[in-house]
């Protein structure tokens, strides 16, 4: 369902994910931005985070959704989809979160360029 392509805009990179109807609640999909991004539908709310786990190279879109968190499919670190923060080991670092918008039934991800921890920018990416 994802004919993901990128287009440069002013501000963050905007990525077309696909049709909203193609991502029902409880589902996830991976799209390619500057890096891979995982998009989740949690009971109708959409969230996007970096797809690659901050611990090793697992794909978080392959993980298990539990409320507003995703459990990494390899070593079970849980990431809060709203903040990107891990809840415990083995992950120590957060993943980036990205804004999601819906226009005309299509999902877009606005790739952020910064990693934030509790509001403070810790690293510029890309």
């Amino acid at each position: 369902m994802h004919y993901s392509f990128l287009y440069e805009q002013q501000g963050p990179l905007m990525i077309l994910v696909g049709e909203l109807a193609g991502l029902p609640p409880g589902e996830s999909v991976r799209v390619q931005g500057e890096v891979a991004i995982a998009v989740f539908n949690v009971d109708g709310e959409l969230y996007a985070i970096d797809d690659t786990c901050s611990h090793q190279d697992a794909s978080l879109s392959d993980g298990w959704l539990e409320g507003c968190a995703v459990e990494c499919p390899l070593h079970a670190a849980c990431f809060d989809l709203r903040t990107g923060q891990p809840s415990g080991p083995p992950a120590k670092k957060p993943v980036r979160t990205h804004a999601v918008s819906i226009e005309d039934g299509l999902i877009y991800v606005h790739e952020s360029t910064r990693v934030t921890v509790g509001g403070a920018v810790v690293e510029e990416v890309g």
């Binding site: 392959d62 298990w64 459990e71 499919p73 390899l74 070593h75 079970a76 120590k92």
Partner: protein
């Protein structure tokens, strides 16, 4: 309860401390650990740390938040006995730590080859072991790994990638027979040959050859394999000898109930040193799995403090992973001798797949996957439900 002492400063010990604070224990916490190091993660010791791609700092388990736990760390000192019905821990130097409760998290250690060993012969359990081994795995070094279990196979895989010449020796006819069964053990065993390591089955270590330094390994079938480095990977045994005479029931680990309670009130055991009752198998199992050492302490702490505790259902399904030759191997559940294997998706001969273990009544009780993380996670949850 004012003072709780945790013995063992590794994954299960740290998870215990975090659970104590998360469950609002406000009293004193002492952690006694015989290693000099602050808690660190062991899985990378045979993988990324041994390969040199992550640092000692990267594998540290504590983070800045842990300062707020307010723990008294006693590192570099072993507990030598448990006294006074669990109300005192005696240390190596003779000092006594009086306490209201004790959580045992002393883990396991690598089983050693009996008799003296020349230089160049290693086991791998600790950071110090990994440092020593890593310095010898130079390109072209001839490595013989005794035992094709998970850790032995991972060391072989890492060493092969580092450019070592690798031989793996396995006493059984098929590697990993006990955890995975003959059919899937053979599938995993084939990864060695496919990636340039030689696997020798049905033969064991008879003798380590070499005066001061090892030069070869003599096998029980009479063959001799030249070796610059040898790793003895023949399993681990629980660190429980120091508990002799404490009144605890020791039988391949400290016997506990589902929550980690032992036969002495206010003494609990968690992680690799605990031989605990498991609902999943309706029997006792001592697990040497990372996730068990991480998750079991929260339940034990709840039992100790008299708190309610509910973990997600799939936490009751034993789970471990192993990384070999770039492949992610995952297993959940428990294999019994009467299990049959049914491949659900993919092809074990060509690469990634997922297989189920069915018991005598054809119910799925275990799942094995290579490079199929997504359906694996779904199956682990289905196994929890089917109980």
């Amino acid at each position: 309860m004012e003072h709780i002492t945790v013995v063992g400063a590794s994954l299960a010990g740290l998870a215990t401390v975090r659970a104590l604070r998360a469950q609002e224990f406000e009293g004193r916490i002492t952690v006694i650990g015989d290693e000099q190091h602050e808690p660190y993660d062991r899985p990378p010791l045979s993988k990324e740390y041994l390969a040199g791609t992550v640092s000692e700092e990267d594998i540290g388990l504590t983070d800045s938040d842990d300062v707020e736990l307010g723990v008294e760390w006693v590192l570099g000192q072993a507990a030598s006995s448990l006294d006074n019905a669990g109300k005192a821990v005696v240390l190596e130097d003779g000092s006594r730590v009086g306490t209201d409760a004790v959580v045992l998290a002393t883990g396991a250690r690598a089983r050693q080859f009996p008799g003296g060993c020349p230089q160049g012969v290693h086991t791998l359990r600790t950071l110090d072991d990994a440092r020593a081994l890593r310095s010898e795995l130079v390109p072209g070094a001839r490595l013989v790994v005794i035992g094709a279990g998970f850790i032995g196979a991972e060391i072989a895989s890492t060493a092969a990638a580092l450019g070592c010449e690798v031989d793996v020796v396995e006493a059984a006819d098929v590697p990993l027979q006990r955890p995975l069964g003959a059919e899937m053990g053979a599938v995993c065993g084939r990864l060695h040959a496919r990636n340039g390591a030689r696997l020798h089955v049905g033969t064991g270590l008879a003798e380590l050859v070499g005066e001061t330094r090892v030069t070869a390994v003599r096998l029980t079938d009479g063959r001799e394999l030249p070796a610059d480095v040898v790793v003895v990977g023949i399993g681990a045994q629980p660190n429980t000898e120091w508990l002799a005479g404490s009144g605890l029931e020791i039988d391949d680990g400290v016997r506990t109930d589902e929550q980690g309670r032992t036969t002495i009130p206010e003494v609990l055991a968690v992680g690799d040193c605990a031989h605990s009752y498991r609902d999943y198998t309706a029997g006792w199992l001592r697990l040497e799995h990372w996730t068990n050492a991480l998750q079991q302490p929260a339940a034990a702490v709840a039992a100790l403090l008299g708190r309610e505790h509910s973990a997600p259902a799939h936490h009751s399904v034993p789970y471990f992973w192993s990384d070999q030759y770039g492949h992610k191997i995952q297993f959940a559940g428990h294999r019994s001798a009467d299990c049959t294997v049914q491949v659900e998706e993919g092809d074990p001969d060509s690469g990634d797949f997922l297989a189920l273990y069915l018991d005598a009544e054809e119910r799925p009780v275990g799942v094995l996957a290579i490079d199929r993380a997504r359906p694996f996670g779904q199956w682990r949850r289905k196994l929890a439900k089917s109980r």
